[in-house]
Amino acid sequence: MRLKLVPEQTNFDFFRHSRLTLGLSGLLIVVSLVLFAVQGLNFGIDFRGGTMITAATETEPDVGDYRRTLGALDLGDFTVSRIYDPAAEITGSVPNQVAIRIEQTDDDPAIQADVIVQVKAALSETFPGIRFLQTDSVGAKVSGELVQKGVLAIVLAVAAVLFYIWLRFEWQFSVGAVAALVHDVILTIGVFSLVQLEFNLAIIAAILTIVGYSLNDTVVVFDRVRENLRRYKQTPLRDVLNMSINETLSRTMMTSVTTLLALGALYVLGGEVIRGFTFAMIWGVIVGTYSSVFVASAILLRLDVKRDWDKEEPKSGTSFADVDA
């Protein structure tokens, strides 16, 4: 007996409510953009500059004590928060951690190395035996560049993908795939804006992986669409799309579940440092799987594909498309 998430034969009509689902996606995109515009992102020091110190004490820390100690130093804006690791019991991570974030006070391109020395000295005095687990400090100059590079990376990745799909399929596929990608990226930014999780370099990496994953999913569906379009020349596009999605549904679920299993383990047990990253990835896998069907394919349906495919796929540009078909 095999474990099967999806019955052997499915016959869902994925486009019965396509107006509704597309509308929902559109609405979510607008909501994400509005959220981004209104409350922005909780940029980490990678992107905003400043200093972040993670410290641990022997005993249960009192955040108020930290605030008082640091407040006496005249540092400008700072925040102190307690770090809870729900999996600490299993992974045995260092207990009693707090995170201290100090904003950059002026436009000085170099970071304030002195501030760090000062803060550590003051904290060591108030809390004997305090350990500084991690200190990160980024100057405004570097953080500006990191923002530019991050945005550039995402734009380049999307452009490269657009080009690749166009080369391998038809332009309609390309538009559908990129629409799905943009959908996924915007929704991810939206959710980060909503829950105000820290948005740092690792999240950019996560978004790029989402781009790769979402595309992976879309391409598998499209590949089947292409195959079925050649086989059933007279069948309406809508039926071909439905057939293709149903045929690949079992694989789509299977891969999403295995990836989510791996990510779930990482989220719960992987420690505080990469929790934001795995959160983004989990969200991206769910949204990416959804968008392959309800955005990419739905747009493909609306754009309509030309059906006068030759019996043989022209050799140019697809030299390794069907080596063995």
Binding site: V94, A110, A113, K120, G139, A153, N216, D223, T259
Partner: protein, 554 residues
């Protein structure tokens, strides 16, 4: 039906074997590391101790011993990104050129009249001449001082540009010379930072130039970035000057031949010094921490013969006068010369702690940085947190691994087991590749591996689902397997290439954590393609050839 040429079988198996063998040392990280250290120490000529022999026996010499480098976030350490103020050197160059320019113009005094240097921005040298009519002659004379620069593009470029601006003559560095100077400055800075970090005796520091004018320093195991900055952040330019006057005014009037520097330890005390140093740090051959007569920490030093002679002559001529020891534009101390100091050695006293005197000695031995440096980024990861991350990563990977394998076995039975075996080989191959290419494993890198575990099965899933479909279409088992592999191929290639594109872009643009992630993601795609298309296929075909089942269930 599922023919697989023997050479291909052997090759695939050999690659898998190599993967396992090269991954093996990473399973015994501590032991292999100790053995490697002992071997390196012995090769460097250290006397063998019993500990070394024990360490060597911990890992047999015939096995590969290349380890995956652990990133700072996993082993703890300090990371500093600094920017070298390369423009500082331009001003120094022009400063050094001024006497020559003055002499060249003096030779033409009859034509050009009075010569006066005008204060201006640091990047240029301005000289006002009395007779504007003779400007061309003046420009020609100064141009005669310039020298050609060898560049790839700008043939015929000179090192300085000379132009006239009204009655002022302006000298600046040419673009070609600026580039050449920048490169020299960066090389010197790298060298000096390397020497300073080496002096502290830390292990395996990374010191790299990044971009035009930046240097990245990573020192594993160092307690904090602040410590690192104390070593590399200081210019440590040491000079000895004759003192003209001591004053309490921060804005005391000085002439062009003088300098005004504050005292290091005394608030509100300023020294007016002769601009030309008597001797400078470049002429030091050694510096050691020591103690003065009163037992306070100090730094003893020795000059090279030329420096020693200059210092000796100066002290002989100026007995009873003070001279200033200047470090980075601050006067450490200004002792009065008691007697002629021959022999070229001396002692620097000041208000040092033992730590400070030790550090100053290191800085003086390693030499001064050619330009000031500015800190752009500093990060410290404590060893505890690094170990935490390794533990968390290990547990998360194991759980992910087991969950995915159980799920695969439940879904695909025997074929699932084949895929699981391939998955194990996949991770072994990733580690082997990481060790072979000398990549660094970081925490995001571990995330990349975990993600690969999830996604690596995708190719197998695609194939197995396809075989199921073909079986449904009532194909024979052999034919179904073959068609399954063939038809799934294009989807697998397209899907992986797109993810690979993302990984390449991450690698090209990203830095730090992003890069670590992209390396394992990219390698993971390659190895998972190999394991899905070659390894599981080999297993399936070997199983099929041995059993020849009439029906199969996938």
């Amino acid at each position: 039906m599922l023919q697989y040429p023997t050479w291909k079988k052997v090759l695939v198996l050999l690659i898998c074997l190599a993967g396992i063998v090269f991954t093996l040392p990473n399973g015994f990280y501590g032991r292999v590391e100790q053995a490697n250290d002992a071997r390196a120490a012995l090769e460097a000529g250290a006397a063998p101790t019993s500990e070394m022999t024990a360490a060597l026996e911990g890992w047999p010499g015939f096995l590969p011993a290349t380890l995956v480098n652990l990133g700072l976030d996993l082993r703890g350490g300090a990371h500093v990104l600094v920017e070298v103020q390369v423009e500082d050197v331009y001003a120094e160059r022009l400063e050094a050129l001024w006497p020559e320019v003055r002499d060249a113009l003096r030779d033409l005094r009859g034509q050009v009249g009075t010569i006066r240097r005008v204060e201006t921005t640091p990047g240029e040298l301005r000289v006002r001449i009395g007779e504007q009519a003779a400007m061309n002659a003046a420009v020609d004379a100064v141009y005669g001082l310039t020298q050609p620069v060898a560049t790839l593009t700008g043939a015929g470029a000179r090192d300085y540009e000379v132009r006239a601006d009204g009655d002022e003559l302006v000298v600046t560095l040419s673009e070609a010379e600026k580039t050449a100077t920048d490169n020299r400055t960066m090389e010197q800075s790298l060298e000096i930072i390397r020497r300073r970090v080496d002096e502290t005796g830390t292990r395996e520091p990374t010191i790299q130039r990044q971009g035009e004018d930046r240097i990245l320093v990573q020192v594993p195991g160092l307690g904090s970035a602040e410590e690192l900055l104390a070593i590399i952040g200081q210019t440590a330019k040491l000079t000895f000057h004759a003192v003209e006057q001591v004053t309490g005014e921060a804005d005391a009037q000085t002439t062009g031949g003088n300098l005004l520097f504050p005292a290091m330890d005394q608030e509100g005390v300023y020294y007016i010094l002769e601009r030309r140093p008597v001797v400078s740090g470049e002429q030091l051959v050694d510096a050691q921490p020591g103690f003065d007569q009163n037992g306070r920490p100090a730094v003893t030093f020795r000059f090279n013969p030329a420096g020693g002679r200059a210092f000796g002559n100066f002290t002989a001529e100026n007995i009873g006068q003070p001279f200033a020891i200047v470090l980075d534009e601050q006067v450490i101390s200004a002792p009065v010369i008691q007697s002629h100091i021959p022999g070229g050695s001396g002692i620097i006293t000041g208000n040092f702690s033992l730590e400070e005197s030790t550090r100053l000695a290191i800085l003086l031995r390693a030499g001064a940085l050619p330009a000031e440096i500015q800190v752009l980024e500093q990060r410290t990861i404590g060893p505890e947190l690094g170990q935490d991350s390794i533990d968390a990563g290990r547990i998360a990977s194991l759980v992910a691994f087991v969950a995915v394998m159980v799920y695969m076995a439940l879904s695909y039975g025997l074929f699932g087991l084949f895929a699981n075996l391939a998955l194990i080989l996949n991770v072994a191959l990733i580690f082997a590749l990481l060790a072979i290419i000398g990549a660094t494993l970081t925490l995001p890198g571990i995330a990349g591996i975990v993600l690969t575990i999830g996604m690596a099965v995708d190719a197998n899933v695609l194939i197995f689902e396809r075989i199921r479909e073909e079986l449904k279409n009532s194909r024979g088992p052999a034919r179904a397997i073959q068609l399954g592999y063939e038809k799934a191929f294009s989807a697998i290639v397209d899907a992986n290439i797109t993810t690979f594109i993302a990984a390449v872009i991450l690698f090209a643009i990203g830095s730090g954590p992003v890069r670590g992630f992209s390396i394992t993601l990219g390698l993971g795609i390659m190895t998972s393609l190999f394991t899905a298309l070659m390894v599981t296929r080999l297993f399936v075909s070997m199983w099929f050839d041995a059993r020849r089942p009439k029906t199969i269930e996938v």
